[in-house]
Every structure is written in C-alpha cells, then in structure tokens.
Symmetry: D2
Subunit: 258 residues, 4 copies
C-alpha cells in the first residue's frame, strides 16, 4: 500500500495582499511549502502560516525563490551565478527556520518555487547550489525534487534526503520538467481529471508527458495548489481519490529515509 | 585597566551599491554589525561581509532594521505592533545566522539599526519585542544597547547578555538617547574631538548630553562609523586614543558575562 | 437638487496580487482614483484600470501615496521633507498621466492615499507640497480634499480646482479628519448605516464627528471603498440612496468649477 | 566636420546610495540619460539630476529599465510580453517628464538601460514596443539606438527621430550589439584606448567587432560612462580626442533631424 505526502505552497501573500486559501488547504495536505519573502510572504505572514500549519499538524518547509516580488518568482531571471543563488536560498531558509524555532516548531523540507525550481531542474550547477544551501542550513532537511531532473540528482550526490513529487494540475514536458504555463493544456483545471491523473501516476509509478512519453519515477509526494479558483475542491478530490485507492497520506518525513 | 570593544555597522550596500569602507574598518574594530537586507545588505553582501569579518578576526553580529531600503532604515515608520517588529527581527537574525553558519562562523551579538534602535530606546514594549526576538533565535547572543535606555532595561529583564555602547561621533539628548541627526552639533565630524570625547566618557563612565547633563553609564563598546568621509581616519584616532589611554580593545564577547 | 460625484480607489493590486472589485465598482462610481505604484499598482495594472475606467465612462484620477508597498501606504512614515514628498507626487501623477495619454484618455483629478492623505490633512506644509505637485503637472487637475482640512486650504491658496469629499464608511475625528482605523467604530460595515449617513451629510451639508460635533462642509463627492467584503453592496446602497434622495450622480469635473 | 553628442547615464543612485560622478560628468557631456526609478533613481535624485543637468546646459533624457533595482537593470528577465514592457517604459518616461516639466525643463531623448537595451537591440517586437512607448509620450523625443540593431529599425519604422550611438568603453559582438560584460575584453578600462577607438569609429563611420568584423554605421552620439573608477578621466580624454580631431560636440537634438 503506497504512502504519499500531499504538499501545497502557502503563505504567499504580502502585506495586505493575500493569495490562496491556506486555512482550507491546511485541512487537506500534510506538508506546507512556506514562502520566504522573496516572491511572496513577509515575516508576519510567515509567522502566521507556521502557526497555522503547526495547529493543523501539517509539517512546514521552506519555499525559497528568486528575489522577484513583482513577478511572483515566476520570471526566469538570468545572469546569476549559482554560488550567489546558494546564498539567497540559505538566507531564506535561515529566516524561516528562525521563525519556526521561535514558535517551537521546525522545518522539515525545502522546495524551490517557480522559476528557481524550473531552472534548477534543468541546470546541474544550479541544482547543486540549491542542494548545498539546504545542506548548509540543516542536513536533515528533505529536498523536494522533480524525479528524473537535476534537482533529484544533486540531492542524491550531496546525500540529502529527497522527496520526489508529482504535480496534480500540471502537464509534463518530454524532459520530465513541468510544461511551461504558457502551453495549451499545461495547467489542468478539471478536478476529476487531476485526481485520476494522480492516481494513475501513483499506480504506474511513472509520469506521462504531453507528447505521450512515459517516464518511470519514484513518487513520495503530490503537489496540489491553493491559489486558483477551484483549488480547494481539486485538492479534496485528489486526496479522496488517493485514499479511495488505498493510499495512506502522511507527511514526507515519514516516507523519506532520514 | 578598562577593556572595550569597538563596533561598526557593515555590509550596508545593496546590489551594485556600496557604502562605507568595510575592508579598512575591519582592520580597526573588533565587532561588525552586519546589515540583514531590510535597510541595506543582501545575501551576497552578507556572505562577503561575514567572510571578511572572519578573516580579520572581527566578531559578527546582526544589524536588523525596519523594512525600509529607500530610507536606509532611518525614517520613523509608525503603526507597527511590537509583536510584528519581533517577527521582522527574528527573520533578519535567522537569515544572517544561517549564512554565518554556512561559512563556519557564528553571530555573537545583535544591534538594532537606525530608527528601530531610536524607537526601541524610548519604547519599553518595542525594546522588549526586540529583546524577545534576540532571545528566540539564540539566548547566548549579546544585545547591544544604549545604556540607560529601554533597550538596556529590556535586555536585563529578559536576562540577555547586554553590551552598553557609546557613540564616538554622535551627541546625546537629555534622555540619554542619540540626539536627532537634524540637530546642530548632533553629528561630530572632527576626528580629534570624537577621540577625546570617547576617552573622556570611558574615564568618567558617563555621557554628557548636548545641554551639559551628565549621565553615569557602564561602557562595554564604542561605536564608530564607516560610511562618512573621514570615517576611517576618525575610527583610527578613536582606537589610538583608547590604546594610548591604556584601554584594551577586545570583542564584546570577551567583556560581557556569558 | 444637489449633484455629487462618487469616487473609489482602484487598481491597487501588484503583480499577481489583486485587491478590490474594480470591474463592479466601475459600474457604480463616476470617478476612479488609480494607484500609481507606490502603495499598490504597477504599469500593467494602471493601464488596465485606465482602460476599464474609460470603457465605463468613469473619470480617472491619480491616487499617489507614500512609497510603501509593504504597508499599503497606510503607515505614517516620518522624517520626509515636504519638498521631497512633492517630487514623489509629481513622479506618480506624471507616470499615470503618460499612461492615460497613451490610451487616449486623461486624468481629471488627484486624491492622496492613506497616510499621505491623513498627514497632509493636518500639516499645512505637506498639504501645500501636494497641491504644488498637482499644479506642477497640470493646473486643471482637481484636487480632492477633506473639507475643513489643510488640504482644502492649500488647494484654495494655490487656486486649484478642489472637490470636497466625504466618506461613506468612515467616522470622523473632532478636527474633521478621518478617525483612525484603529478606533472602535471608525470603519462602518453596515451598508444601510453608511447609506443613511451619506444622505444625512448631503442634506445637512455637514459632517458629524465621533463625539457628536457637527462641522458644516461643502460636499462635491462621496468616497466609497471597493476592497472590503460587502464593499460593492455598500456602494450600490449608497448610490441608490443618493438617487432616491434626488441627487444627480455625475463626475466631479462636472461639479467643480474649472 | 562631424558633429557628435556625448551622452552619459546619470542619477542612478537610490536613497542614500550614490553611484557615478554626475557633477563632473555634466561638465563633459551634452546629453544626460537619467534613471527613472526602475534600476536606480528615485524622485528626489531625478529632480536633483534634472536640475543639475539644466544648470550645466546638458540636455536631459529618460533612461528606462526593466524593473530590477537589485540587479541594477542588468539581468535579463524573461517572460514579459512586449506590450507590458511598453507600459513600463511609458510609466518611466512619464514620471521623468513630469519632474522635468516641474522645473521648467524638458526631456529630449530616451535611451534604454542595461538588459532592456540589450534585449531590445536583438528583438524586433520588444524594440518596437519601446519605440511605441517613446512615441506615445512625445513623438518629438529622440530614440537613442545602437546602429544596425532592431532598436534603430523600430525607430525608423515608427518615424521617430533616432540618434545612433557608439560606446567608448565597450567592445562589440559580431551582430553589432554590445559584447557581454562577462567576456574578456568586453569592457575597456584604458582611457587612451577608449579615446582612440572612438576617434577611429567616427572617422570610419564604422564599428569593429571583437572578431575583427567591420560594420558601417552612422554615428550621432558617443556614450561615455560615469560609474567606474577612472570614468571621468576617460570621458575627458574621449572628449578631448574628438575635439582635437575637429569634431564639434553638441547635444543630439542639434544633430538629429526633428
């Protein structure tokens, strides 16, 4: 009987701005990827999200990004040296870690956001820079990676604990990376379709790309989103479908060897 | 024979912008207050400053600020709850601490910057919020405070290690706080005057305010600045005058009981 | 039969963040105060809001703020010289004006946002700095001011066209300024109460403060908000009540002498 | 006898940060490209730079950028639609224009900064978006473009006045664009070499690329920089060499047909 984690990005507001339905998503998922202030999030929101996650027995992780509030971390920003990205990621995890510590909880994982994640998935040097950042802050942190991509390989080379994740609502490119949001069909809006895809990928232990290519992968976690209309309903369907399939839903720290 | 620390704000540039003569000041001082990104500083500059401080055997501390890059943290920003400032300070110390950890060094102290420092010196709730932030990250961190002000009292109430500092180049208001930079005579530009004032204050273990009031204080550290023309020359004079007077110059961690 | 304008703040999102129900509010109001990027708004959102306002025959104005995205322009930031605020306001109006011009429309008014408005209402120098900024960009622009406050007096001294506005959902302090949002009862949430207060103020041509003081004022415009739950419903009620009372609802440029 | 303009980027500080020697450069050049707040610059600095330029009889232009203060506008940021860049450029020129107007001066030209310039030089859609932005604000504005690149072609298609510029201190790639700063030899530090290259390019009415390719171009203006050590000395040498060669140094508005 497979065990999987459900993870979701959270705390991505800024000041008076809010985005996503964190309170509801925290009733559904087992791991929360908390924005660190570089694409969203601020110390007040981080504190509040960490507190809410702890109250819901949801495990907290850092969700570091390129420094790009206006672009919500989704724009590819070129010209940064991996060694400099490393420092930015350390800064973000450290800030979140201290806030977690201040409320008596702790971080369990790190998952890169947006363009940082997309770029690291395909760039071995960048992936390794991020992995070094994770290890530098706490070698027990789990690195959440796309299976088959450079992030997974970097985590393995650095002997980090790694959680391989699939996306409920995103289609895949042929190299195993997420298909660009700009492509037709790249984002799945139908909750039933998302749920059945997830069940299929778990059963197959494989992903299928937009062009039909099948890539075998290990799956530890399923990413659901909370910031689109219908997101909560989709997440509930995904969870229910997994449970109906006999999956146990548990935080990734219970799945990934320590 | 008195022992005093010399501290200086550092790493206050941002991106391509730089300010101050960190490399030279690190040859003079024993403690570096490193900007955390809220009024200046960024992960790359923080990393570089921490590395340079370690290479010079200068002890590193965090220099948290209100979130105000444009105003360089010098503008009073009202309307924030102390509990929210606390989270902002934890965020900043945590970010710096993780970067320090990543290069094998550690933070020894925390000193508030600009308006945050000025406001906390006179507001007991805010001072205590900052002290709680320091304690939350690491109870061994030394809290650098103006003697006689609310920050000193908050540090004592929370049983933090506290270093009392005087300023070489700033005049004092009658309540013991720094006189506003806008007042005539508030900033001292003459290196010899600054040096002789410091020696006098150390000898007297007292500060003298703009109006001539004398306030007895304990002095553990002397703050010198690195970001004005002639700053390096002034710092050298202050250090030389202290040494000539028989003072031993040592990092604050050697002075303040642990 | 009195003629009044209905104005509403708009375009206050940033990047992926949105706030308020601009599309619906544009069916209700006659003047849109468009954020200029300093507390919210960005060039893409400004362009979109100007376009939408024009399509709804709603007149566009600039809604300049202190430079404080994180605080949404609501935090008092001290220590700025009025002459420097003036430059910030010119910058913002100019940016918006150029975008308006690029889509074949034009700005009709300027209304200060948040703390800038609150501070200018009580500070004659600051009020005059803002008025000078308005005049510098275009002397035909209408300056929206709280009646009885320094902004109204500054507008009159500089011979600007001025629209006096009342707030549907905010209580008044005894000096005629808006009561602080932190005070009990300062923000009115009941649509019926808001509507009946507005009708009363228009009938009386006076405002009544929290303590019961009555201040006679001239009223050209009524401000309704779009960024709270129930805001649209409240705005509709206010408009309906004004129409039921026999008021004609027209853009402020039709009311204020040119 | 050729007539050329000398242009320089200016006003690129932010808050307390300053960069470059604007006061000295204004004694050397005839056109100032003033940062608009997106990569550097703020309303106070813009006002001061416009005032200083006017006092030196140096003509003022806008120097718009991608929105990237941290990266000083030098990082390629992908994923923006040209139509959205257009709005950002209109915003920036409009803001600067209003400040120029407020001190009784006016903008004469627009020159893109950093990555925006590099990207527009090679991307016809982006180049045309910038050219549309210039035209939307004021069709009399001169568009400063790299000769032979997409920006020049876009300016011509839109019938804008265009000034073709060469760089004193930058080497050229084979496509006629500036060589990346990261390439060996891409930035010229020797003032004499810079001066003799400029004289040669003016004489030849051609640029020579890093690989030795010769590209005939029309040259209306020479860009000198003010933000590196030795920049002022280099600019003086370039000017002196041009004068010695018999060139007349005049603002671009006197060179480019109106």
């Amino acid at each position: 009987m497979p065990i999987v984690d459900l993870n979701c990005d959270m705390g991505e507001g800024f000041g008076v701005y809010s985005i996503g339905n964190d309170a509801e998503m925290l009733e559904i998922v087992t791991s929360a990827n908390i924005a660190c202030g570089f694409h969203g999030g601020d110390p007040i929101i981080i504190h509040q999200t960490l507190t809410l996650a702890a109250a819901n027995n949801v495990q907290a992780g850092a969700h570091p990004s390129l420094f790009d509030l206006w672009g919500f971390g989704r724009r590819p920003i070129l010209g940064e040296r991996p060694a400099d990205i490393e420092k930015q990621v350390i800064y973000q995890i450290g800030a979140l870690q201290a806030l977690a510590h201040s409320i008596g909880t702790r971080l369990r994982h790190v998952k890169t956001h947006g363009s940082l994640g997309n770029m690291a998935a395909e760039d071995a040097d960048l992936a390794e820079a991020v992995a070094r950042a994770v290890r530098a802050v706490d070698p027990q942190l789990i690195f959440v990676a796309l299976p088959g991509m450079e992030t997974e390989r970097a985590a393995e080379r650095l002997r980090l604990r790694v959680a391989r994740e699939i996306y409920a609502d995103r289609a895949y490119a042929d190299n195993g990376n997420l298909a660009s949001r700009k492509l037709e069909g790249a984002v799945i809006h139908d909750p039933d379709l998302a749920a059945s895809r997830v069940v299929q990928m778990i059963e197959d232990q494989a992903i299928t790309t937009l062009s039909g290519r099948r890539i075998p992968v290990k799956i530890d976690s399923v990413c659901v989103h909370g910031d689109t209309p219908g997101a909560v309903a989709m997440a509930r369907k995904v969870r229910a479908a997994l449970v109906a399939q006999g999956c146990e839903i548990r935080p990734m720290a219970h799945i990934v060897a320590g």
